[in-house]
């Protein structure tokens, strides 16, 4: 590889990883930080870190779980930082702002739809430890073993947290009137 990493197999591999797992990384990051710009920044951070550490990737896990593991670490770093404590995490979008909406990018419109989804709002009310297992298991459709690898915990712990997360989520949804008609 040349010094700047240009036109190299590593760049090609990075491009492939972004193609395959970019959506995973971005959406998982968003589930933690709930701010689109910040999620993009973290996604960039994740792939640049992975690019720099390609040589140290030892195939002990899949590339996907490796990248998501880096993502989780980056997000937790951010959640511990002053920036998260001081800056409001989510810029909730004004539903009546039609003129402004028309200028939104397609990605921002998706974020808007996401934020307006009641199920997502319910998930966001849960503590991070439950939100993360729900996101990885249901949204990203990782197996229990893969979730355990990403979160660096045991599969049993993941199962326990998933169970509690479902119970908590059910309670939240029922409070929102999701009883029988939704089920």
């Amino acid at each position: 590889m040349d010094e700047n990493g240009q036109h190299s197999p590593r760049i090609d591999l990075l491009t492939e990883w972004m193609h395959l797992y970019g959506t995973d990384v971005l959406n998982v990051a968003y589930s933690y930080v709930r701010n689109y710009q910040q999620a993009q920044d973290i996604t960039q951070d994740v792939f640049v870190r992975a690019f720099r550490k390609m040589d140290s990737f030892r195939n002990e896990s899949s590339v996907r779980t490796w990248l998501l593991s880096i993502t989780v670490n980056c997000c937790k770093d951010y959640l511990r930082s002053w920036q998260y404590r001081k800056v409001r995490p989510e810029e909730h979008i004004d539903e009546d702002g039609q003129e402004w909406q028309s200028s939104l990018s397609p990605e921002s419109r998706v974020v808007q739809r996401l934020e307006n989804a009641e199920l997502w709002q319910a998930v966001e009310e849960l503590p991070v430890k439950y939100r993360e297992v729900l996101t990885l298991f249901y949204l990203r459709e990782l197996s229990g073993q893969e979730v355990a690898q990403v979160l660096r915990t045991s599969e049993q712990n993941v199962r326990t947290r998933l169970y509690r997360a479902r119970v908590l989520l059910r309670d939240v949804l029922e409070q929102k009137g999701w009883h029988h008609e939704q089920g």
Binding site: I11, M18, T43, K76, L114, R170, E174, H180, G183
Partner: protein
């Protein structure tokens, strides 16, 4: 939710929209990766690591010989250059005659509203004080009541006023701290604290004093929070940049929230390098840039060779880029007027480093777009508070 909760959730989650990974983000990451050469001390010319290793062995032999010949004594001056990096225990900072008499958040030309720190500074000495005669520490303390450098969200090393201040005169000092705690409108959200030291940074060495340090390791004073001895809290109205003139409460000891450090007793400060932390690896990578600035991330691999866990909260990274001629001669000295200096908290995946463990930590440096961070190797010292 009468149906099986898991099935219901799986179906419901399938209906949640997925944020697409845009081409713009893809290109942005590719640019960052391409512009991200790993600057590592391990990546020099093929002969340099060998030379460095041989030099290190020779240096170690000299240091060992010096220690055996003069246990507990100062390293002789003629060997200072050789051994300075390994025997410097910390840095002594002397308070400057430049005192902060008023400090508030305000607006400076070209910057967003209330995104700058503005101070009135007074020269209480007998000599004019210029921009490079002092080094200031600007902090945004978490707890303003303590008005402390120790518990702060953000720290900056800053220069003195742009124009020399004559003895007895006051001047306005301004600084736009990029990266300080702010809200979405770029307005600073925490009250600042500012203290100036002379640029004559002394070295605290093993043995007796040297190079102006004036402090032996055996009885080195613990790290002193200069703030507690020089300046009190700021009034809340200064957050808005509408502060009135400064007031000095030195005559009223019952009022700890003095806004002026003029006339207050000030002590020198010692910043000790962490004795049990070793930097095993250091690299600098491009992070981001704007029209007038660029930012890099410094990543360090630290090893705790001690027997107690070290909290990252107790550490600062002191980073400086020396001048071409100065940096090799006195790698310990970050007080050179032309040095580019930074002070940062450390971030990592863990909040502490256990005995015998290694941890990768990082921090970001933001500078003018004119400053090429990747062209030079920074000196980094880990200060333990």
């Amino acid at each position: 939710m009468n149906r099986d909760n898991g099935d219901f959730l799986r179906e419901s989650f399938n209906e949640i929209p997925e944020i697409p990974f845009s081409d713009e983000l893809r290109l942005r990451i590719l640019e960052a990766a391409k512009a991200n050469p790993v600057v590592s001390r391990n990546r020099r010319g093929s002969w340099k690591p060998w030379l460095a290793a041989v030099s290190g062995v020779v240096a170690a032999v000299f240091v060992l010989a010096a220690v055996m010949a003069h246990p507990g004594k100062v390293v002789p001056d003629n060997s200072r250059q050789l051994a300075s990096a390994s025997v410097t225990l910390g840095y002594r900072l002397q308070p400057s005659a430049l005192k902060v008499t008023d400090l508030f958040i305000g607006t400076t030309p070209g910057s967003p509203q209330n995104s700058s720190v503005i101070a009135e500074v007074t020269n209480t000495g007998n000599e004019p004080i210029g921009k490079t005669d002092v080094v200031g520490v600007l902090a945004f303390p978490m707890n303003t009541a303590k008005n402390s450098l120790l518990q702060s969200d953000s720290l900056f090393l800053v220069n003195g006023p742009s124009q020399p201040v004559a003895p007895g005169q006051s001047a306005q000092w301004t600084f736009h701290p990029v990266g300080a705690p702010h809200n979405t409108s770029s307005q600073l959200t925490e009250q600042p604290y500012l203290v100036f030291f002379t640029n004559q940074v002394g070295r605290v060495q093993a043995g007796t004093a040297s190079a102006g340090a004036g402090q032996a390791a055996g009885n080195a004073v613990p790290p002193v929070d200069a703030a507690t001895s020089s300046q009190g809290a700021f009034s809340a109205d200064k957050r808005t940049g509408t502060a009135s003139s400064s007031t000095t409460n030195a005559a009223n000891p019952a009022t700890p929230s003095t806004q002026s450090d003029v006339g207050s007793p000030v002590a020198s400060t010692v910043w000790l390098k962490s004795p049990k932390l070793t930097i095993l690896h250091q690299e600098v990578t491009f992070k981001s840039s704007g029209p007038t600035w660029n930012a890099v991330r410094v990543t360090l691999t630290l090893k705790n060779s001690g027997t107690t866990t070290i909290s990252l909260n107790s550490l600062w990274a002191l980073t400086w880029y020396g001048t071409q001629t100065g940096q090799d001669l006195q790698p310990w000295n970050w007080g050179e007027p032309q040095d580019t200096r930074f002070i940062n908290h450390l971030q990592a995946s863990s909040a502490s480093i256990a005995p015998g463990e290694q941890l990768e930590v990082y921090f970001d440096l933001v500078g003018s777009s004119q400053f090429d961070f990747l062209d030079r190797t920074p000196h980094v010292a880990i200060i333990q508070r």
